[in-house]
Each structure stands twice: as C-alpha cells, then as structure tokens.
Amino acid sequence: METKKVLIAEDEAMIAAMWREAFSLHDCEVVLAKNGLDAIEILGNQSFDLLITDLRMPEKDGYALIKHIEEKRINLPIVVCSGYIEDEALLNQNASVKLLLKKPVDIGKEVQNLIQEINPKPNS
C-alpha cells in the first residue's frame, strides 16, 4: 500500500500536532500549514491525497483556500474541520469538500474513518 500524503491547514499548533500524530499512526505522511496562505504555497509544489482545513485562520482563511483549490482545479478531497460551521453550504457549493467536521471532534476517531475513505478497499 503506497503511503498517503495528508495536508493539514490549522493555526492551532496543538490540534495540528494531534492530526499529525493520528495520521502517523496509520502510516500517512503529514505536512502542516499554519494558515491558508501557507497551504496554498505548499500545494504549489506538492500533491496530496487529502486536505484537512480549519475555516478561521489568519492570513488566508479556509474559505479562501477552498476557493483556490476549486479555481486551480486541484484534484484534492477536502475535509473541513472547524468550530465555526454554520450551515452545510460549503458542502453543497464546493465539489471538493467531502465532509464537514464540527469541533469539538475526536481527531483519533475521525482519522480512523478517513483512512477507510482514502484507502480503497482491497476488493473494490
């Protein structure tokens, strides 16, 4: 099974570190971005299998990051994880956004579920 690469855009260092820890347990390679701008830069020269992004971040926020990905037609499934999700509009209006996670979440459990999604089942 090839190593999956996950990009985490999260300004809260502790939470970013937990995403890293949880994905690492499943042998994923994790890259951290401090904000939307940082993430856009990283996306310029690396490709990923999954993006986890917060919404409220300094510099460029999650909305701007999602917009960038859609405009540049980057093939990247997005999971939005934020304490500030007011409606489902993000999910409906952006094809790349696959899942909304409302904080507080159990990152360990969510990663277990996400791993099932990004790793195609052996018989499919």
Binding site: R56, Y84, K103, I107
Partner: protein, 371 residues
C-alpha cells in the same frame, strides 16, 4: 389683601361667568381647610377625583386621596405652602374609585374671611406624562443593556471557536490514550505528557470562560475603584475576541507597559476596550493596512492609554458628534450608536475621560485615568 378681587363689588353676571370659568378650567381647583377638609372644589376637580358631584365631597378629608407612601411628601408640600413657598409636587393620588393617578399639585396659603387659614391648590393630571417618562427611562436602560449584549454577541461566535479548540484537544487526547492503551503501545512518559496537556487545556478553557464571566457580570456603581493593571485587563479582553480580529487580518499590538496601573474597574474597563476595538474593527474592514496599537503614557498624576488604528482619522464634522448617544455612522441594525457614549460614561465614573485625538495622522482614541 388689597390686590385680591372683592367679589361683592362685581356684577352677578360677571360672578356667574367667573364661576363657570373656574368650573370649566381643565385643572382641579380646590380649597382645603387647615385640617385638610375639602371646603370648595371646581367641577374638573370632581371629575378628576372621580366623584359624582361636588356636594358629596365638601367636608370630607382630602388626605383620603393620598396613599400612605405619599403622605410624608404631601405634608412637606403643605409646610412649604404655609410658608408661602409656591412649590409644586408630583403625587400618586388615589381617586374615589381607587384608581391611582400621578398628579402635580401647586398650593398656596389663603386667608379666609373669618381670619382662618386655608390652602388653595391647583391639581393637574400628569399621569400620562409621568408614565411616558418612566417608559422612556426603561427603554433607555433596555437599549444600554442591548448594547452590552450585542458587544458580547459579536464575540460569541469567536468564543465558540476558542472553546471548541481546547475541547477538541481534550477529546482527542483522551481517545488516543485509550486507543494506544488497547493497542498496547502506551508508555509511561506518554501517559504523563497526555495528562499534562489535558490538564493545561482545561486551565485554558477555564480562563476563557472566566474572562467571559467578567465581561457579562453586571456590576453596580457602588463598586469601588481600585488600582488595576491595565495591560492585564486589555490582555484578558483580547482573549475573548482575538479570534475575530485574527480572522479579519487585524494585528493588535498590546504595548501597555507591565507596571501601568490606574483607578478603574475591571469589567467596566473591559467594556470600554471592547467598544473601541469594535469601532476599529468596523472602520478597518475596507482598508488594506489593518492594525491596532495600544500604548500607555505615564503622566504625573494621570495615566493615558492610547488606542490607535490604521484608519486615517475621523472627519471633523463627524468627530464632533461621536460621543453623543445614538450617533452612528454604521448601517441601520449594525450599531446602536451607544458604544462611545457608554464608554464616556464609564470613564467619567472612573473620574477619567475618553477623547478623540484629532492631532494624529491615524485614528486615535485616548483613555485618561487617575493613578
């Protein structure tokens, strides 16, 4: 008294028309004996006090219309009248039918023919006026309360984020703990470090909730002023709202020096900071350069805190009005126009003041305190 009209010299016609005028006047005219018995009353008075006719009133005790809680006020009024001080008093009178109405009463002492003293009073129904005034006062209070809550509400969304982050940390850490334990890969060191993180995160959440409680708690004016560390109050205020400013890309720099203290009150001052930060937030939305700088300036007996933002100042004709209640440049529904006037009132309660400093190229407000 020489200047009093002597009715006996007047024609009957004139007397009748005078009596008619007195009866029809839209005000109660009443003559009371020294012991407060009703000697004479006009028709308007009969109606005002809800009697059927004047004859059932003559000789009765006027004090019967005055509820117990108003009696002392009325006695003071009579004393003033007897001294020929024509003072007016507003009393809550009770009519014959038991309806309570606010009435304004003016009285003066009057000499009867038999040399006995009497009191002549004019009573005017001011019930509507008093009630409207009460209503207005209540509305004003409600509006001030609304402003306080809206300042809070604006930060509530940011606050949810602030609290959901630490909760995510706790939830995930506890879950990872049990997961790793099940997998049998949990070391002693890891347990210690996980628990430490959880403990610190609980403290952090507690600090956020505590700050919120400080801002929402109502405090009376009787609360005493104390020397408080200004840097810390500003920092605490920021913890509940920094999210909103971060997201908008506004950099806030707290350059208040560590030992600056001033006579103030924690919660109230927090409200002033929130109001000023809110104003800057709205003003900076449309600008490319977004920053707020907060500095302290020590003087002999006073301390000043300046709050400067990257805005380019306020037009003089607007600047003149900004401290007035209900003045706002924000869209309808976005601001109550009370932020600065409340801040000004709060600063006055500290014996300090707030002013707009037009001499700076950027928008600057200054808070001045005693120390």
């Amino acid at each position: 008294m020489q200047d009093q009209v002597n009715f006996r010299h007047l024609d009957t016609d004139i007397i009748l028309s005078l009596i008619e005028m007195i009866n029809e006047a839209p005000i109660c005219l009443i003559v009371l004996s020294n012991s407060c018995k009703i000697l004479e009353i006009n028709q308007s008075g009969v109606e005002m006090l809800e009697f059927k006719n004047k004859f059932s009133m003559i000789g009765t005790d006027f004090l019967a219309f005055i509820p117990d809680d108003q009696k002392e006020k009325f006695e003071q009024h009579l004393i003033a009248a007897n001294k020929n001080e024509k003072a007016g008093t507003v009393l809550n009178l009770s009519t014959k039918k038991g309806n309570k109405k606010w009435m304004e009463i003016f009285s003066s002492s009057y000499q009867l023919e038999d040399n006995k003293k009497a009191i002549v009073s004019l009573i005017h129904d001011v019930d509507k006026r008093v009630k409207i005034k009460e209503e207005l006062a209540k509305n004003k209070e409600a509006l001030i309360e609304t402003e306080r809550l809206s300042a809070l509400g604006e930060f509530a969304s940011g606050l949810a984020h602030e609290i959901n982050n630490p909760l995510t940390i706790i939830k995930t850490k506890t879950s990872l703990l049990s997961e790793k334990q099940k997998m049998g890969i949990l070391s002693q060191e890891e347990i210690t470090s996980y628990l430490e993180v959880i403990n610190q995160t609980v403290d952090r959440t507690h600090a956020i909730v505590n700050n919120l409680r400080n801002v929402t708690r109502r405090q009376g004016n009787e609360e005493e002023l104390e020397l408080i560390p200004l840097k810390k109050v500003f920092q605490n205020t920021l913890t509940i709202c920094k999210e909103k400013f971060n997201k908008a890309g506004i950099k806030i720099e707290n350059k208040i020096s560590d030992n600056t203290k001033a006579l103030a009150q924690n919660v109230q001052l927090s409200q002033v900071f929130i109001n000023l930060l809110n104003n800057s937030f709205s003003a900076l939305a449309s600008l490319d350069e977004k920053w707020i700088l907060v500095e302290s300036h020590e003087m002999d007996t006073k301390v000043r805190i300046s709050i400067t933002d990257s805005g380019k100042g306020i037009e003089p004709k607007i600047a003149r009005k900004i401290m007035e209640p209900f003045y706002t440049t924000k869209q309808v529904g976005e601001g109550t126009g009370l932020g600065l006037s409340i801040s000004s009132r709060i600063m006055n309660s500290f014996d300090g003041r707030i002013f707009y400093n037009s001499k700076k190229p950027n928008t600057q407000f200054v808070l001045e305190f005693n120390k």
